[in-house]
């Protein structure tokens, strides 16, 4: 009975982790399911062996199968099935496929402390958006700056980052890695504006040496738009997505 309960709980856990893939077409990656399942099974086992009584109940059928002379047939069947299952799983894991190998890509590069662009050196630790202050001081002017930032965005950025700023622009699907979505609370909401300024101005080639190859298709926007335009487009992407840049005070 306990052993059956254990099997049922393991199956329920597995199905639960598969749900997002089945219902929404957004699967939890297999690498993560493996980790989730490992610890789910461990916890089920820990709970079931936390008392002597339940441990005995859990192990009794296994013990009986291994030791009871009358269960010779079941024992032999199990001893054949277990290595076969293990073999199949191993084969499935290591068989050659045409799919490219899994990638561990760092999508959050660490910025340098200073950058040299537009002929000047910027200290990224102290750098602030010169227009941010107007949000409080002069809301009308701020609104106008955001509108100008929107123009910059739709002239240059939306082809890849999308008209909804969700990273699904016309050309975006052709790239790997895909363009970053600005929607949601887990991308630009986590960043200081100085960081976003660095990413826009120096693009893919400006990414640090660590975690290469980045393969980012982001252009070096320093070569195409002005410093002021970068700050304005930053105002726009935060404003449009309802995010607030990271700050320390």
């Amino acid at each position: 009975m306990r052993l059956l309960q254990f099997v049922i709980w393991v199956i329920i856990s597995y199905l639960f982790f598969k749900l997002p893939g089945i219902l929404m077409g957004k699967p939890i990656p297999s690498s993560l399911i493996l980790m989730y399942m490992f610890f789910a099974v461990v916890m089920i086992l820990l709970v079931m062996t936390s008392t002597e009584k339940s441990t005995r109940e859990l192990l009794a059928p296994i013990k009986s199968m291994l030791e009871d002379p009358s269960k010779k047939l079941i024992r032999n069947v199990v001893f054949v099935i277990v290595p076969i299952v293990a073999g199949v799983i191993t084969y499935e894991q290591i068989k050659p496929t045409y799919e490219a190998p899994v990638e561990l890509r760092s999508t959050h590069p660490a910025p340098p402390s200073t950058i040299k662009i537009y002929g000047k050196t910027y200290d990224l630790l102290a750098l602030e958006n010169p227009y941010r202050k107007y949000e409080k001081e002069d809301p009308e002017k701020f609104k106008e700056l955001v509108r100008e930032g929107g123009e910059v965005y739709f002239k240059h950025c939306f082809y890849c980052h999308g008209d909804k700023l969700d990273g699904k622009g016309h050309y975006g699907q052709g790239f790997n890695p895909l363009p970053l979505p600005f929607q949601g609370k887990d991308t630009i909401a986590q960043l200081q504006e100085s960081y976003v300024f660095w990413r826009i101005a120096t693009g893919g080639p400006g990414l640090p040496k660590e975690s290469t190859p980045w393969l980012s298709a982001m252009p070096i926007w320093e070569d195409f738009i002005t410093e002021e335009e970068i700050w304005k487009v930053i105002l726009f992407i935060y404003d449009y997505t309802g995010n607030v840049p990271r700050s320390w005070e």
Binding site: P20, G21, M24, K26, P27, I28, P29, S30, S31, L32, M35, Y36, F39, A40, V42, M43, L46, V47, T49, S50, T51, E52, T55, E99, A100, V102, E103, L104, R105, S106, T107, H108, P109, A110, P111, S113, L124, L125, G167, K168, N176, P177, L178, L180, P181, G184, K185, D186, T187, A189, Q190, Q192, Y195, E210, S211, V244, P245, R246, S247, W248
Partner: protein, 619 residues
């Protein structure tokens, strides 16, 4: 009183006074403590490797000391020894030194507390256990010193110019460090060898005082070493080119010094508890009599209690340290948790989760000691469920490892549902709830064998349930609303009331329980020794997980400097000035863990050997 006894007491008092004076001399005296070089030398910067040669003060302004910038090294400035990878060698030796140092600094802390409890309660068992704890650490002490010496030598051999630069700034503190080390050795040996000679009456007070001094000098040693490593991460007291301003206190009291001090202090106690817990498990499993089993079961329980008590506040100290790293340098902060080391943090989360699982499992198994525990065993599955859910959230990564087909299906590196679980508000919420439920396991264990006799027991239970519920609702609201629907200032700030809520649950829970169970009826005698053997492996897992965790996190702490010996001030230009891959780093740390555990098993065996006597028959 016999004259000879009087003279012995006088000698001991004299020795004690000497130690106190020595200790007082060595402790830095706050912000005003300034150490200047007054030797009148001028240090001139040279090119290449020899950046800090001392020259005569001729021509220098009288009394003013000038220092050279940090040397700019070339690859050829780093000595090599054929067949030895200098970085891996120093890495392993430093790590082994740190593991043993953490252990030998921690054990006297709780030995002192246990001895004091034994003295206050007049219960001999505490004294016996404290003595056994310190016995384990005494062999480890000499191994710590051996690795410390080896580390100093290997640094001087492989990184001479870097050491020369550090000596320029911290040279005085190196001398203090050596002197304090002597003081620590003296305290430790008197404390250990004098245990039985100072067992009763006034002498016991003296013994406790020596234990206090031992902890004082031990902690001071750690503060010095912390100053050197944190200076390498967040240098202060030097200008951008590394020119030392002459005030060593500034260099010591750098941005990350205090966060590391606190984090290491708490972590050391948790680590020490886990290692002596493993010792108790080893002795439990090899015990031949019921009496021995009962003793080592109790010892294992106490060690586990110490480890968990320190483990619970540890994530908060870690969070403060990380926040300060971010505040000091966005680059280091992002490298640490968002960039190249992000996945090592996932490994860290997994190991911390394993610590929580082991600790809870040990408590659940411990309920078997009491007949009254059966009332509470049905709750274990719910506690287990909450802990595992929190654990899964705790280690869910933000950036996923994806196959190309998964990448296509998700449309990016972030998962639409799991993505928000990959950032700090979710982690903070999960870890706080995980801590609260671990505390609940402890509370249930604590009351398993007792039935309250106070008239307000139901009311007390109601208040406790109310506090638990209110705290969890508070933590959830803070985590979800402030974490995701306000700006980052509130997001980061909300972690503080989350911690306060958790600590409040722990403090209020203990206070109410203590009063509620005062004069409580015991269900039956606690059956010490009646623990399943599998529970002892949880104690082993605790020690191994801690060791591996410390190794990995130690690597990350050091590696976020990337290609700098001293961050942004002195560049590392050796052939090893690159960040190793995660797999490579994990292998080095794993090898270190195996070496450490092998030595620890040797120490356990030695302590076992010391209790054996050769019989006439064996002769």
């Amino acid at each position: 009183m016999q004259p000879i006894l009087r003279s012995k007491r006088a000698l001991l008092l004299l020795a004690l006074t000497g130690l106190v004076v020595l200790f007082m001399l060595m402790v830095p005296a706050g912000d005003g403590y300034v150490l200047h070089r007054t030797d009148g030398l001028v240090y001139a910067g040279g090119g290449g490797g020899g950046g800090s040669e001392a020259v005569s003060s001729e021509g220098a302004e009288a009394g003013k000391v000038e220092y050279p910038p940090a040397p700019k090294l070339k690859e050829s400035d780093y000595p090599t020894i054929s067949g030895i990878n200098s970085r891996v060698f120093v890495w392993l030796v430093a790590q082994l030194h740190l593991w043993f140092a953490a252990f030998v600094l921690a054990v006297p802390i709780f030995v002192f507390i246990i001895e004091a409890i034994g003295m206050a309660t007049k219960d001999e068992r505490y004294d016996k256990m404290a003595y056994e704890f310190i016995k384990v650490s005494i062999t480890a002490y000499s191994i710590t010193a051996i690795f410390g010496g080896l580390l100093a030598i290997s640094l001087m051999v492989f990184y001479p110019d870097f050491m020369k630069y550090l000596t320029l700034i911290f040279g005085d503190s190196f001398i203090w460090y050596a002197l304090i080390f002597f003081a620590e050795s003296a305290c430790l040996y008197i404390y250990y060898y004098g245990w039985n000679a100072m067992k009763h009456g006034f002498r016991k007070w003296m013994h406790l005082t020596i234990g206090f001094l031992l902890n004082g000098v031990g902690t001071t040693l750690m503060l010095f070493a912390n100053a050197w490593v944190t200076f390498m991460m967040s240098p202060e007291g030097v200008d951008a080119s590394g020119v030392f301003g002459g005030n060593m206190w500034e260099a010591i009291h750098n941005h990350l010094w205090n966060p590391i001090n606190l984090h290491r202090f708490i972590a050391n106690v948790a680590y020490g508890g886990s290692v002596v817990g493993a010792y108790a498990a080893y002795k439990f499993l090899s015990a031949t009599t019921e009496e021995e089993k009962a003793h080592y079961d109790w010892m294992g329980y106490t060690a586990n209690f110490i480890a968990i008590a320190a483990l619970l506040p540890l994530p908060f100290a870690g969070y403060w340290l990380t926040a300060e790293i971010y505040a000091y340098s966005q680059q280091m902060g992002i490298t640490l948790m968002g960039g190249v080391f992000a996945w090592l943090f996932i490994v860290q989360a997994v190991l911390i989760g394993a610590l929580f699982l082991s600790a809870n499992y040990y408590l659940w198994c411990g309920m078997e000691r009491s007949e009254g525990a059966y009332r509470y065993t049905p709750y274990i599955k719910y506690i287990g469920f909450v802990i595992v859910v929190c654990f899964l959230v705790w280690f869910t990564p933000h950036t996923m490892i994806l196959t190309p087909s998964e990448l296509k299906a998700l449309g990016g590196q972030y998962h639409p549902i799991l993505g928000p679980l990959g950032i700090m508000p979710a982690k903070n919420t999960a870890v706080n709830i995980m801590i609260i439920f671990t505390f609940l396991s402890f509370l249930l264990y604590r009351r398993a064998n007792k039935i309250p006799t106070v008239s307000w027991a139901s009311f007390g239970n109601g208040v406790q349930i109310g506090i638990f519920t209110a705290a969890m609702v508070n933590i959830m609201i803070l985590g979800v609303y402030y974490g995701y629907f306000t700006n980052t200032v509130y997001k980061v700030a909300s972690s503080v009331p989350q911690v306060v809520a958790t600590l409040m649950v722990i403090v209020a829970g203990v206070v109410i329980d203590v009063f509620m169970y005062r004069g409580a009826k015991e269900v039956g005698p606690l059956k010490w020794g009646k623990m399943p053997e599998r529970s002892q492996y949880a104690l082993f897992l605790l020690a191994v997980s801690f060791t591996w965790l410390m190794g990995l996190m130690g690597f990350i702490r050091s590696a976020i400097r990337q290609h700098w010996h001293v961050y942004t001030v002195m560049r590392d230009n050796s052939v090893d000035a690159f960040t190793p891959t995660i797999g490579y780093a994990a292998k080095v740390v794993s090898v270190g863990t195996i070496i450490f555990m092998a030595i620890v098993i040797f120490i356990f065996w030695l302590s076992h050997l010391s209790g054996k006597k050769q019989t006439e028959y064996q002769r």
